[in-house]
Each structure stands twice: as structure tokens, then as C-alpha cells.
């Protein structure tokens, strides 16, 4: 479904990604793990069209999308839930959700998407008229996910969905991602919480200093000594 090959991304002179290749099949959950500054967010942002790669290709369902602007990438069905939630605090919950469904592909199915989001997160329906800034951290994360789903995506990239959330809420967030995946959504999960994301993922990639240093099935990586030592502290 998504095939990234030999991606080089620079911030000025500093190289953020160095020959990164990755493959996501339809219906999968793929995890990208790595330390802070390894290039995980850069990878997501480059796929989403918010950064132009210097070299390499990004193909989605066979279409080369490297260098496309973000609104065209979104309109193909690639969504992202950005790091740190990034909701619009003074807009209401309903308005926030509406901003997710503005592109041509999403507009037609706006009503059914909204019903789906409200069904998934009943709390958002209760708070529809409230400014989003008044929501709790967990509710804001629900809103960020809901807003992304309003765009009727086929592939969603989650950037640190558990960041700054209480453990119980992290569990329900991951349960939601698993449920969305069962309903047919392909997911890319970027997490610092390595143990959790590797358990969830079919395939996983370990990113270090902008390079993919390890990849394989999630459970295999969980048993890998290098991973256990570097990320799980075992």
C-alpha cells in the first residue's frame, strides 16, 4: 500500500533521514520505534507532504507522492494524528471535527464519518459545543483521532499517541487503534513506548540517527537482544 524507498531528508545541512526504506501492506499495523531525535516524526511529516525529501521515493498504491503538498496527500487517503494532539483550542469540538472533513474525498461522507466518530467516542458528542481547549488530555487525543478519521483515510500515521497520557488512557487509546485496524484501517504507529507498540505491530522498524537499523516482525524484535537492551532496558 505504502512503499518508501531510500528516503533522504535534510533540515538545512543537517541530515534527518538517511536512506530510509519501509513498506506498509494493506490492513497492517506497522510500528516505527526509536529514541528521541531518531527521525520518526520527520518520516511521518515527509510522507504527509510537510517536508520535501532530497532523494528517494514514496509510493502510495503505486502513485509517486514524494514532494506533493500535504492537501493532495491527505486527499489520497493518508491521514496523520500529529504528535502532541494539536487540536484547535478555541474552536468547538464539532468545529474541530469539521476541519478534518474539508477535502473533496471526505466531504461526501461527512455525516456518516461524524456518526462513526461519535459512536467511537461518545464523549465527543457530549462535548460537541464546548471549546476543545477545555477537554482533558485523553479527550483531546480522542478528538485528534476523530478529526483525522473525518477525512475518511485509508492509512493513518499516529505520532506518539500515548505521549503525556495516563497509563489507563494509553491502554484505551491503543485499544482504539487496534479496533480501527480490525475495521480495515491501515496504521503506522510511531512510539517511544517500544514494548507496547511492538506487541501491537505486524511489522516494525527501528530508527536510529535517521537510519533503519533493524526491521522485522514485531514479536521477533521484542525478543531481539539489541532491542531489549537499548529500548526495554533488559
Amino acid at each position: 500500500m505504502l512503499e518508501v524507498s531510500d528516503l533522504d531528508v535534510f533540515y538545512g545541512d543537517a541530515q534527518a533521514l538517511d536512506g530510509v526504506s519501509l513498506r506498509v501492506d494493506e490492513g497492517e499495523i506497522v510500528a516505527v520505534v526509536g529514541a528521541n531525535g531518531a527521525g520518526k516524526s520527520t518520516l511521518i511529516r515527509t510522507i504527509a507532504g510537510m517536508h520535501r525529501p532530497r532523494r528517494g521515493s514514496i509510493r502510495f498504491r503505486g502513485t509517486e507522492i514524494a514532494g506533493w503538498p500535504s492537501h493532495r496527500v491527505c486527499d489520497l487517503g493518508i491521514g496523520q494524528v500529529a504528535e502532541g494532539r494539536q487540536i484547535f483550542p478555541s474552536l468547538t469540538v464539532a468545529e474541530n471535527l469539521e476541519t478534518g472533513a474539508m477535502l473533496p474525498r471526505a466531504r461526501a461522507s461527512r455525516r456518516s464519518s461524524l456518526e462513526r466518530v461519535y459512536h467511537l467516542f461518545p464523549r465527543l458528542r457530549e462535548r460537541a459545543a464546548q471549546p476543545a481547549g477545555t477537554l482533558s488530555g485523553g479527550e483531546q487525543q480522542m478528538l485528534a483521532i476523530g478529526r483525522c478519521l473525518m477525512g475518511a483515510p485509508e492509512l493513518v500515521m499516529f505520532d506518539e499517541p500515548s505521549l503525556g497520557l495516563a497509563p489507563a488512557i494509553v491502554q484505551s487509546m491503543l485499544a482504539i487503534i487496534r479496533q480501527l485496524n480490525r475495521e480495515g484501517l491501515t496504521c503506522v504507529l510511531v512510539e517511544q513506548n517500544v514494548a507496547v507498540s511492538l506487541k501491537l505491530a505486524g511489522h516494525a522498524y527501528v530508527l536510529e540517527n535517521g537510519r533503519v537499523t533493524l526491521s522485522g516482525r514485531g514479536e521477533e524484535l521484542l525478543r531481539d537482544d539489541r532491542v531489549r537492551e537499548a529500548y526495554l532496558g533488559l
Binding site: 510537510m50 500535504s70 491527505c74 496523520q80 494539536q86 468545529e95 478534518g100 474539508m102 459545543a129 477525512g151
Partner: protein, 335 residues
């Protein structure tokens, strides 16, 4: 109208209708002095609305809006003086040139990611150097100023914008009402939601697929075009234009102060702000007249403005809106 009133309580509807009726009847109710104050109030409300569209809706701070007003004013006035082109035709040139200037600034700012305060500096720079350039162009009157022929006519001549204060009052009232309706419509449109998303969090908006560059360019174009129209009115009302006062930063600040006081990002903020600030200035003038020290009026006026901004940092309108309970609870906040 329906959109403006969306989310408003019956009380707000009554108040708005009463305000509209009062403004329509004002020339028959008040003397010429009060009318002249009302005219200035409406001009600031109008230009404030145009400026608000850029900062309040789309999140782009301009501190050089005198540029667009000035371009509109100079373009229409020069065409009138040199070619006897009536302002209703000159306004097209005025808008075209103002939008062109806005687009150049917008293009430079948004393409090269000049944001926030740096973008504001860019707008100041353009306004200032345009003022300097105009001062060196004899065709535009140079530094001595450009003057429109004043002739006393028995009848108001709307097509040439020559006539009584009452005529100018109704023209600027129409413009203000039109700008309010346009902004209200835009704010509720898809574009308006894009703008608000950009204003709140540009990164998040981009991640959702909001076409940043296009949306911001449209905001600048509409804002500068509306300001250009305001400039035409300004030129024909005052009949004289001087480069430093027209394009100067102090003029830009003057144009936006009402909106800052009234409430950035709200529909009625620019109007309320203008209705507070201009009369406040007049009252200060009256109070300080007897003292006979230069600068006493601007000092106290500045003090009053500082107090308002200090105690009501999000503007007077959101506060008044809650105080009078104008909402019916279906909308998030004051509009």
C-alpha cells in the same frame, strides 16, 4: 443576516435591529458635529473589519494596513484629479492595486515562511517605502500632498462622491454593513474554517490537508481589497492626501487600534472598538482643552487604551457579549 444572528439570543437580535435603525436614522437625529464623529467611527469600523479578516480570522498580523488604504486613496484620487475618472470607476483600479500590493507581500511572506512579528515587519516596510516613493512622485502630488478639487454643490453627487457629510455617512455605513455581512459569511464558510484552523495551529492545519499558502493568500487579497475600497472613501471624504500621514506606521496603528480594543477575531469587535475609541478621543479633547499643554490629550487617551487592553486583553466585545448574555448557548463563544 441569518448567519450573523446564528447563535444569538432574541435579546441580541433586538439590540442589533435597534442599532441598525438608530444608525440609519442618525443624520436626522444628531447635529453635524456628532455626525462627523459617527462618520469617523464607521470608517475605523470598516477598515478594522478588513484588517481583522487577516489577523483575527487567518492569523496573519499586518501592521501596514495604511498601505492598502493609501494605495486605494491615491489611485482613485489621482485618476480623478488627472483624468476626471469618477470614483465608482476608480475603485476598480484602487482595489486591483491594493490586492496586487497585498499579494506581493503575501507571496514573499508565505513562500519564504516569514511568520508572526517578521511578517508584520514586512508589512511595515512596504507601507513605509511606498510612502517615501509617493513623496517623490510629482504626479501623485509629491511630499506636498494631493488635493481633490472641492466644490460646493447643491445636490449630492454619489457617482463622483462629491456632496454633504450625510452622503458620506450613508456610503461608509453601507460599506461597514457590507463588510460585516461579507466577513460573517466568510467566517461560516469552508474557507473561514480553514482560516480559523490556520490561526489556531498552522502545523495542525497543514497536517489535516489545509492548503496553507492558498488560504492565506486569499485572506490577504480580500483584506487588502476591502481596505483599498476604504481608501477611496477616505480620499474623497478628506479631499487631501499626504504621503507621511497616509502611509505612516502611526496611521496603520490608528486603523487597527479600534479592533484590538473591541476584540480581535470577532465580528462585532471592530465596530464596538470604533464606537468606544473615537468618542473617547473626542471626550479627551474636550476635557483637556482648557489645560493648554501639548500632548495632554494623547497621553490620557493612550492611558485609557492601555487600561482597556490591560483589563480586557481579549477585547471589549467578548466581555460585553457575556455581560449582556447575548448568546443562546449553541455557539462556542462571542462572534
Amino acid at each position: 443576516m441569518r448567519r450573523i444572528l446564528e447563535g444569538a439570543s432574541p435579546r441580541a437580535r433586538v439590540l442589533l435591529a435597534a442599532l441598525g435603525a438608530l444608525l440609519l436614522a442618525a443624520p436626522f437625529l444628531v447635529d453635524s458635529y456628532v455626525l462627523s464623529v459617527l462618520i469617523i467611527v464607521l470608517f475605523f469600523a470598516y477598515v478594522g473589519q478588513a484588517w481583522n479578516l487577516m489577523l483575527g480570522f487567518a492569523g496573519q498580523l499586518s501592521l501596514g494596513h495604511a498601505l492598502f488604504v493609501g494605495i486605494g486613496a491615491y489611485a482613485s484620487a489621482a485618476l480623478f484629479v488627472h483624468f476626471h475618472l469618477p470614483p465608482w470607476a476608480g475603485v476598480f483600479a484602487a482595489v486591483a492595486l491594493a490586492v496586487l500590493a497585498g499579494s506581493v507581500i503575501g507571496y514573499l511572506g508565505f513562500r519564504f515562511s516569514i511568520r508572526g512579528a517578521y511578517f508584520a515587519l514586512l508589512t511595515i516596510a512596504f507601507a513605509e517605502f511606498t510612502g517615501i516613493a509617493v513623496a517623490h512622485v510629482d504626479w501623485l502630488g509629491g511630499s506636498g500632498g494631493l488635493f481633490l478639487p472641492v466644490s460646493n454643490r447643491a445636490h449630492d453627487d454619489l457617482a463622483n462622491l462629491r456632496g454633504s457629510p450625510t452622503m458620506f455617512y450613508y456610503v461608509i455605513l453601507t460599506l461597514t454593513a457590507g463588510a460585516l455581512a461579507l466577513c460573517s459569511w466568510l467566517l461560516n464558510s469552508r474557507l473561514g474554517l480553514y482560516w480559523k484552523a490556520i490561526r489556531e495551529d498552522q502545523e495542525a492545519a497543514e497536517a489535516l490537508g489545509v492548503p496553507l499558502f492558498r488560504c492565506k493568500m486569499i485572506a490577504v487579497a480580500i483584506s487588502s481589497g476591502l481596505s483599498g475600497i476604504g481608501g477611496v472613501w477616505y480620499a474623497f471624504y478628506y479631499n487631501n492626501l499626504f504621503p507621511e500621514t497616509t502611509f505612516g506606521t502611526s496611521h496603520s496603528i490608528e486603523l487597527i487600534l479600534a479592533t484590538v480594543v473591541g476584540g480581535v477575531g470577532t465580528l462585532f469587535g471592530p465596530i464596538l472598538g470604533a464606537f468606544v475609541l473615537t468618542p473617547l478621543g473626542e471626550v479627551m479633547t474636550a476635557l483637556t482643552e482648557g489645560i493648554g499643554i501639548d500632548g495632554v490629550k494623547p497621553f490620557f487617551w493612550g492611558l485609557a487604551v492601555a487600561a482597556i487592553v490591560l483589563f480586557r486583553p481579549s477585547g471589549l466585545w467578548p466581555w460585553l457579549y457575556r455581560l449582556l448574555a447575548l448568546g443562546n448557548g449553541t455557539r462556542g463563544g462571542p462572534r
